[in-house]
């Protein structure tokens, strides 16, 4: 069951990712990205990361992607000239990417020490309770720093996007 779920959602994620970079219209790309995020959320669940899976859906697929769609529509971004038809991309870029993926796969599968296998429900340390405990004890300072970062980002976004900018 785990394997089937993994394969299904992994395939879906890869397919959506390819869709993201192959589609010419930004809206389609954005929707593909949402697909990737959704399938990743399922995979997180399989890994026992309940909180992260929820946050992935709420924050990423929800908030951030909506922001993207909003900007795309606001700017009325049109279709892009298909970049894959350029010979450099087709004959050099493609092989390089495939080679790199192969290299990664080789490194992961043949040089890493043996790893566990995932079965659903085996690891339950990723619930909100555990996350909360970790964030508010061990990672309190980074957490607070993050809030400052977000504050700065808010101010920065307002400064950048306000109307009277030259």
């Amino acid at each position: 069951m785990d394997l089937i779920l993994f394969i299904v959602f992994a395939m879906f994620a890869v397919a959506s990712a390819l869709g993201l970079i192959l589609q010419t219209h930004p809206i389609n790309s954005a929707l593909s990205l949402i697909g990737v995020m959704g399938s990743l959320a399922v995979l997180y669940l399989l890994l026992g990361a309940e909180f992260i899976a929820a946050a992935q859906l709420v924050v990423y697929a929800g908030a951030i992607m909506v922001l993207f769609l909003f900007v795309i529509m606001l700017l009325n971004a049109g279709e892009e000239r298909n970049p894959w038809k350029a010979p450099v991309v087709a004959y050099i870029g493609g092989p390089v990417v495939i080679f790199l993926i192969g290299a990664f796969v080789y490194l992961i599968n043949f040089t890493l020490p043996p790893m566990r296998s995932v079965s659903f429900g085996d690891f339950t340390g990723g619930g909100p309770r555990e996350i909360g405990m970790a964030i508010f004890t061990k990672y309190l300072l980074p957490f607070e720093v993050t809030s400052v970062l977000i504050l700065i980002a808010i101010v920065g976004a307002m400064v950048l996007a306000r109307k009277e900018i030259d």
Partner: protein, 617 residues
Amino acid sequence: MHSLWLIPIFPLVGFLINGMLGRRFSKTVINTVAVGSVVLSFLWVLKALSALAPLNETYVEHYFTWISSGTLDIGFDFAIDRLTMVMLLVVTGIGSLIHVYATGYMAHEGGYYRFFAYLNLFMFFMLTLVLAANYVLLFVGWEGVGLCSYLLIGFYFLKKSASDAGKKAFIVNRIGDFGFSLAMFLIVISFGTLDFQKVFAKASTISPEVQYGSITTICLLLLVGAIGKSAQIPLYVWLPDAMEGPTPVSALIHAATMVTAGVYMIARSATLFERAPIAMDVVAYIGLATAVMAATIGLVQNDIKKVYAYSTVSQLGYMFLGCGVGAFSAGIWHVVTHAFFKALLFLGAGSVIHACAGEQDMQKMGGLMKKIPITFAVLFIAAMAIAGVPPLSGHYSKDAILMAAHARAPWMYWVGVVTAGMTAFYVFRSIFLTFFGEYRGKAHPHESPAVMWVPLAVLAVLSLIGGYAFNIPEFLSPVLPMHGGVHDESLATIATAAGLAGILLAAICYLFVPSIPGALASAFAPIYQTLYDKYYVDELYNVSIVKPIANGSREILWKGADVGVFDALVNGAGTTSMALGGLLRKMQSGNLRTYASWVLIGILLVMGGFAVYGGAK
């Protein structure tokens, strides 16, 4: 703890305050800070000494470990024993007097705060030198006083001769310091430590046969350092030129304290020198030769400060002679008495120069006795003291040195006696030329203010009774055992007579029959000219050392090595970088995707590295 560190800290604080803020201060504030800090450290010396009396043992204060390297451990330690105590009292006591004097002398000079800041800095380093409990700390003070000497000689830095004299002093001293550093290295190799007490303890246990050679070498190298600092042959040339500095500086640094640092260092290392008879002989010969040579030059100089400068060199030669014949405590005694009367001579000369509106040529003075009577009185006392007239201070210390010299070798005694006669002659020549006869200058002499003559009076009293009241050799006997030289009345009488004869001769030549000097000078013109031109030593050094170095630097090092090799290398490096940079510049397309591709290539390389070296194990 008696907080010995406070002694040098007071002047340092004074230096910092005056040096950083002095520009904004009024002269009163500067005076208070400068004089106050030195007086405070004098008082603290007195307090520490009264608490430590009778000081039969060396008292050490360890503050922190300064350098720790392998087995070598150098602490920031101050130590105090009787020898240190004598030097401390001389440095802070005379230093205070000269500071007070300087407030009057420098009253109308520019750079007032700068002068006192440097003077306080000098006091700091001099006290560090004296208090140091190891050679390295002593060397810190040693270099520091050299620096202050340089700064103060070149105080009138707009005058080329002054800045040149400062550089000369600094460079000549480097030669001595080089010897001193080598000596320290050799001490580390031989004894494994630089602490005075440990070095001397180890030195006194080994038999002369074992370490004979290395101790002699150490002593000779230390002597090189002392020669540079204390202006002995062949490195004395900087001291006469150092008179370009303000007169209080000449008195404090170039007569009373810094130049005696060499003698102090030799006396401090007495344990080593006693085990190196050859080095002792060299010390004695150099001292004697310097004493005679400087005295002969002093006979014919016309600049009042130059006369006293050569007199200082000559008296330092006496101190070296004393140390060289084993009478270290006599040498220190002479350091003390010399500090009294030579500081007095210089300050008096400063008062004379002050009175004559900056004139230093004695031939343009004369007849000043009635115009500046106090200055005349104190200078006369100082002259009597240096001439060795009993019972003034110089008589005792000089006698002690001469007795020790006689015990070592009678001919040294006789040379010393003749030199004493010459000393008396030229000092009284300066007195007679300055104060007797008719006034030959143009300015209108006036007596100095009280702030100047009161220190002079105190020094005069010290010069009068200093020898009789302070029996330094006896006081120092726990530290520096007195060797040789039982007091012999007839020898003492001969020495005194030589001094009196010198005075008499000077009186005849410059008071009663003023034609004699001119006649002598023309009769022995070559000799006179040689003496007047200081044996042409400066010219000799110039031709034999300075010119070859300068020309070699210019022709070979500059035009050959620097332009030909190093500049070519540097320019070549520049050109290569430009060319490479031009290539790399093409990478910077400004195109985001190109940059990303470079990043990707970087990842490729890293992964290649991982793959080759077997991944993350």
